[in-house]
Symmetry: C2
């Protein structure tokens, strides 16, 4: 019986719709397990720019620091995608949050629910049994180095940077997670070309002997992009830099059937942030068709990691499993054989999960 | 009836084995179509380091400049992968060659031979009809910017750079290719985070009106990594930066069934270089099992692009198609249903293609 304060930060686009479902589930868990969850909400991204001019207003950041955990939606707006020179952008809210909260480790579990074996574009026999846990470094790399223009704006540059300290702290989290799983760690880099990757590989090689029970392999990012699809079962824990992690985990969503199924946990020095890996998806915003399961599963990660509530977290995952077993699907995970009346919208899917709790 | 001089640069590992097959095919084409092809060879990569201490000896570069085209193998050696701090590395030979020859456009056609529909890990119904032409920028980006260490070696950095000029010249090649195909161009970047991508997007937007017949879309690299597997048929021509192109084309090899099927053409200011997109693959080197079709198809690209020999090029592709139709496979493209006696080694596969010419 615990009292916890959760900050809800839906952000933009379908972030609003799916986070509402995640919150519904947290509410039910509190009631069912006798906890007291209090909530507040805050603006980020385009929504925050519209209201305040700032993609991460100081009041949002302060609320994040004070909360026990944050349930986050998504940020982004097509307006900025068409205007690459826009100086204020929704994504800055997300990136600044990650930096300010010291969220250096982004965990992205890629696990296929049995019932979705047919929903993927990858063959079932290749997928069956795939279960990968990504550790994406989240506060360094080309995301946070100096960037700008020179030669009268005719040349653009971005600086990627990593320190030993930054690599080591994420690597240790990944090694420790590997110990509790199948004891395999794949470190992904591009050490044959870039210097940050060479440092990355050096650090992994240096600390590996401290984890003699974990089998370590190094893969180049290009080869990994291929192997994830060719043979996803060969991976257990994967650890990689910010940019490579961004690309590879979106790709890996195909292993789980749909991006709409993937949750993530961003952890580090302070408050943990939990969010779907999908974006704001303005093409489907307002239609009530977005898959809320990534937000609901993010809530499950929140319960487990930030609150140490393993039973509560498992209850959520089990409820999702039951809903899928009962044949309910959102559009993104439906296949040709799904009966029309089992294809649900966002809120109806949330309600089905609720009904199982 | 033409006289052409071809430089053969097998490089390392299976580069040696597969390039020999590519050359065999070029020889046969010369005889069949009445051309005179003369050959020379040269060292690169680990082989060149062993012999001369230099991954791209001056004599190799000079021979490349003088040749009408280069058939290239692969570079790399596990020795360097385990030693991220090695100062002299095989890949430097490849990168320096690209830079010195001004090979700024790397064309990677991703086309599935009908017969290989079952060889891929992706479902046949997703794959059928997929046909993508990648234009990967090859002489800029994080590959060629300044890189190094600071803070007593505790911090590593890499600088990514692009100028308008560099983006525009590759973009124009891609727009022109789209015109001759299905008239769709997808430009891939990460303009929501990095500055080189913002410049990239600006340039594409600026020149797009000059190609009103081409439908342009912009995608983020993470979304593209997902979409390539989810729905490969949506892509026609894809243009992207060096690093993103490296990752996405390796991933896209799964669309073509195997990395062992993928050829590439690197073109620019001078001599064109043709090479498989696979690497030196030391795990299978010397076993005679590598798939030579990527090298043979690279020879086909060489004939078409550097020599303007379209009929000759088509003859090679047709021969490969017939061999696949006859059921012959190397290990990488065999499936459970392939009879054992149809699984061929490198040279035997080359001979089958030869027999069809
Ligand atoms: C929106 C964008 C800045 C972000 C990223 O690149 O990190 C997103 O793609 C993600 O993966 O969380
Ligand atoms: C070997 C390596 C340097 C090279 C690259 O990254 O360009 C390779 O992966 C390729 O795609 O040609």
């Amino acid at each position: 019986m615990a009292t916890k304060h959760i900050l809800i930060v839906p952000g933009d686009g379908i972030g609003q719709e799916v986070t509402a479902e995640g919150k519904k589930i947290l509410d039910r868990i509190a009631a069912k397990f006798g906890h007291t969850f209090t909530y507040d909400d805050a603006l980020v991204g385009h929504a925050a720019i519209e209201a305040t001019g700032d993609p991460l207003p100081a009041v949002t950041l302060e609320k994040m620091h004070k909360a026990d955990a944050v349930l986050f939606g998504a940020v982004g707006h097509p307006k900025y995608d068409n205007d690459p020179s826009a100086k204020v952008r929704p994504e800055q809210g997300l990136l600044k949050m990650r930096k300010e909260l010291g969220l250096y480790a982004n965990l992205r579990p890629i696990k296929l629910f049995d019932e979705l074996l047919e929903a993927s574009s990858i063959k079932p026999e290749i997928l069956r049994g795939a279960d990968i846990l990504f550790f994406r470094e989240l506060t360094g790399d080309i995301y946070f180095g100096e960037k700008g223009r020179k030669n009268n704006g005719d040349t653009a540059f971005d600086i990627a940077e990593y320190s030993r300290f930054e690599v080591e702290r994420i690597a240790r989290k990944a090694f420790e997670a590997a110990r509790t799983r199948r004891k395999k760690l794949c470190s992904v880099d591009k050490a044959n070309v870039i210097e940050t990757s060479r440092l990355w590989r050096e650090v992994i090689q240096k600390i590996a002997p401290e984890y003699p029970d974990v089998e370590v392999e190094h893969q180049f990012v290009d080869a990994t992009a291929m192997l994830l699809i060719k043979d996803p079962k060969r991976f257990d824990v994967v650890v990689t830099a910010n940019l490579f992690g961004d690309i590879l985990t979106d790709e890996a969503s195909q292993i789980a059937g749909s991006m709409g199924m993937l949750a993530s946990a961003s952890i580090g020095d302070g408050t943990g942030v939990y969010e779907p890996i999908h974006g704001s998806a303005h093409d489907i915003t307002g239609k009530g068709v977005a898959n809320p399961l990534a937000s609901i599963l993010s809530a499950a990660l929140l319960l487990d990691i930030s609150f140490g509530m393993k039973a509560e977290s498992d209850a959520v995952i089990e409820a999702v499993d039951k809903v899928l077993k009962a044949g309910f699907r959102t559009g993104d995970i439906a296949d040709a054989k799904t009966p029309k009346d089992k294809i649900l919208g966002t809120a109806a899917m949330g309600d089905q999960v609720l009904a199982q709790l």
